[in-house]
Symmetry: C2
Subunit: 117 residues, 2 copies
Amino acid sequence: MSSNVEVLERIKDTTFALRTKLFRGLADASRLSILDALRTRPLSVGQIVAITGLSQPNASNHLRCLSECGLVSGEQRGRFVHYRLSDQRLNDLFLLSDELLTETACAVDTCGNYGTS
Amino acid sequence: MSSNVEVLERIKDTTFALRTKLFRGLADASRLSILDALRTRPLSVGQIVAITGLSQPNASNHLRCLSECGLVSGEQRGRFVHYRLSDQRLNDLFLLSDELLTETACAVDTCGNYGTS
DNA sequence: TAGACATATCAGTCACGGATGATATATAGC
DNA sequence: GCTATATATCATCCGTGACTGATATGTCTA
């Protein structure tokens, strides 16, 4: 039998792990550009490629990732696959992020710990 | 002179870059555990080390990163440095993230594209 | 069924960034 | 000033994950 403390530890660890994965899913300019492109309307992979400038395999890979994470969902229509945001609350998340950024923008911008890549 | 389109492109690129950096700052379990520890009260580095189980240099490194990004601010008090969340909206961000996760939790959990490390 | 188009997968390369151990800096007390 | 404690920095190693080019799968049209 596990103590309450241990149980709470595990719950917390799981929460952190999930949050980490979610944020990691969002911690990529390519994926963010895809999500942004999908903000207003569903798009085919070709359209996404055209808008974002990503290579087709690259876009496809990111879409698979986003899809597996549930952030995006794809629907086959003939030869095309139309992707859409699966949760509109992503927009809220971006709005909140931008709020945070307007307050700490310079800081994040000038932080040299990791690049923009 | 730049066209409007080009200007908008650059603004968008900057936005994406900043968002990417913000999310990357949050895309690490160690940093998330630090931010979580600081959610209720300011803490010294030693306390953070004790709570999170991180090594002292590692915690210090992450704190520098978080500090440079403006997510956290430190204040020297004698031999100690007390860190605090610099923006309480981080809590809102985590709440919103957890909302998203409860809807897409399984998906993110089982997504094999990147590990929990 | 053949050929064209849309998307997905695969193998390989490469850089970023997180962790560690050792060490440096700084502040307090004696 | 000397020692102990608290925190920061440094060099290094190593794994993860993003990108590319080639290729496979799948779907439509003729």
